[in-house]
């Protein structure tokens, strides 16, 4: 008797399940039709890092080319090197040419996004807050080389587009 009762209760549980999926069958969809629509949460997404421009000069980064971000990076995906000013002949002493001067602005700032794990330690370590996350969600490329982003160029482009 109990087994029959159990079997009936079991069958009823199946009917209840069908009811639930049936209800959702008629319920509105929850997906986003991607190419035509975009998800709403993109502004909180933290993509690859990008440089922050100066307030008065948007195309010039705050970066002082100290290279801390590059050293802190767990996967060595940042390459920074300071811009080098040509040696000033006036400063030459005793006939020796003056050493080229390292400027406090980056000449190269490359990010190899292939390696980046988005941990954000470069952003945290930067002494002048020159790095921030971009929300570049739709970052798709055809070759591996293209993931090597020139952040200086990116900043200049952004500055131009901004104006």
């Amino acid at each position: 008797m109990t087994s029959i009762k159990n079997a009936l209760a079991g069958l009823w549980s199946l009917v209840v399940g069908m009811g639930i999926t049936g209800k959702y069958f008629t319920a509105p969809l929850v997906t986003v039709f991607y190419p035509r629509q975009e998800a709403e949460n993109i502004e909180t997404y933290r993509g690859h890092v990008e440089l922050v421009g100066k307030e008065d000069e948007a195309g010039v980064p705050l970066c002082i080319a100290c290279g801390q971000c590059a050293r802190q990076c767990p996967s060595q995906c940042i390459t920074v090197s300071a811009k080098v000013a040509p040696a000033d002949p006036a400063e030459s002493k005793d006939g020796k040419p003056a050493k080229p001067k390292r400027l406090k602005t980056p000449g190269v700032f490359q990010l190899d996004y292939n390696l980046c794990s988005l941990c954000g330690q470069c952003v945290q370590v930067c002494p002048v807050d020159s790095l921030r996350y971009s929300n570049n969600v739709y970052f798709a490329v055809f070759t591996r080389q293209e993931t090597n982003i020139d952040l200086l160029e990116r900043l200049e482009r952004q500055a131009k587009e901004g104006k």
Partner: protein, 386 residues
């Protein structure tokens, strides 16, 4: 029948050969994985079958082994942080916590109270995420295709919430020594509260759709019964041992952070079968919701980052720190030689111990049961292989 020249030699590998040495007569040796729908990624299980009954089973690991422990010896303490989100991608914050906690314990770094609350909050949110994925994937193993999408629908809300503070959706690298990376805002709290309301209703739906489902109960009840003794001998922790009736939860047993101040229960079920483990996880999600509510009510204002030296060099010595992950006890054994690089990082993955009892559990069951048992242990292979 002609044989292809390349394959005419015995194609079996080291593990197949060593496994088949012990085979009985008239049995079938079946290789499940590393690409098999129910072995969750890249686990490989070799089974010896008598009909559809399993005589013997042996999991073969290492297909996604990344030698995290070696990387730990090569990177500085901070540089090793992102690795933690990738050990167990489903409960990344717990691994974050285990490692960060070990370093803090060793170096004596104080964590501000607000940061502790935020840690608990994100960890519990992440725990629900993890259980939801498990719930969906387990039912997928049992042949129900729809629940995983309902689970993902709910998980999506949580990922959005977590993305607000952590910036990413899966492999979080959010905890820092002495605090967390970013502060939570009001929208985060509001969203979480809305989610809690919504999720309580959804849990009822889960129960009606799946938990009470006759077929599911038949597939889970009395399957893979794990006795308390066996569970202990294999070092099982988390929902697996709680499904055997032992209320062992690191959050209560060796309280860390602000857990002692929070009021929550440790759900246990004494049956020890797959259904008990299933129920434990479902109940744990409810408890996580409770914890989240309390945390949000009590969260104090203040700093989220304590004082940490710029270059971290913990004193010589060792420490062991354990947290409760979604799969069980996550332990980090950290040895420091006083330099900026860890001397040794040993990661204790809960899934590793949980899986090791599979060979015993699956003896004499059907293949379908083995799939059910494997699923009920909640395996994340990257964590097991490390």
């Amino acid at each position: 029948m002609t044989m292809s020249p390349q394959l005419s030699s015995d194609p079996s590998d080291f593990y197949s050969q060593s496994f088949s040495k012990g085979a009985r007569e008239n049995t079938l040796i079946l290789n499940m994985g590393p690409q098999h729908p129910s072995t969750h990624g890249v686990l490989r299980v070799i089974v010896e079958l008598d009909g559809e009954y399993i005589v013997r089973a042996e999991p073969v690991l290492g297909y996604i082994h990344r030698m995290h422990e070696f990387m730990g010896q090569k990177k500085t303490y901070t540089q090793y942080l992102p690795n933690m989100g990738r050990v167990d991608y489903l409960h990344a914050t717990a691994w974050n916590w285990a490692y960060v906690g070990a370093v803090e314990q060793l170096a004596g770094i104080e964590v501000p109270e607000r940061a502790e609350y935020i840690r608990v909050l994100t960890c519990e949110i992440n725990r629900i995420c993890s259980h939801l994925v498990w719930w969906g994937a387990y039912l997928l193993d049992l042949g129900a295709f729809t629940p995983i999408l309902y689970a993902f629908e709910d998980r999506e809300f949580l990922l959005d919430i977590l993305q607000r503070v952590t910036g990413s959706r899966l492999t979080y690298c959010y905890f820092r020594f002495g605090g967390v990376y970013a502060d939570v805002d009001d929208k985060f709290i509001d969203d979480t509260r809305t989610f809690i309301q919504r999720f309580r209703k959804r849990l009822k739906m889960y129960e009606a759709l799946v938990t009470k489902n006759f077929i599911l109960r038949k597939r889970c009840e009395d399957i893979g019964v794990l006795s308390v003794q066996t569970a202990r001998k294999y070092g099982c922790t988390g929902p697996v041992i709680r499904g055997s009736g032992v209320p062992y939860d690191v959050r209560r047993a060796v309280p860390y952070s602000v857990y002692p101040e929070l009021d929550f229960e440790i759900p246990t079920f004494s049956e020890g079968d797959a259904m008990a483990r299933y129920m434990v996880r479902l109940k744990e999600m409810e408890q996580s919701l409770r914890i989240m509510e309390q945390v949000m009510d009590r969260m104090p204002d203040g700093d989220i980052q304590g004082k940490t030296p710029k270059t971290l060099k913990p004193p010589k010595g060792e420490t062991y720190f354990a947290v409760e992950g979604a799969r069980g006890k996550i332990g980090v054994h950290l040895v420091s030689d006083g330099s900026a690089t860890p001397y040794r990082v040993k990661l204790r993955a809960p899934g590793y111990s949980n899986l090791s009892c599979f060979a015993e559990l699956s003896k004499g069951t059907l293949i379908a049961d083995a799939v059910s048992i494997l699923g009920s242990l909640d395996l994340v292979i990257p964590e097991i292989d490390r």
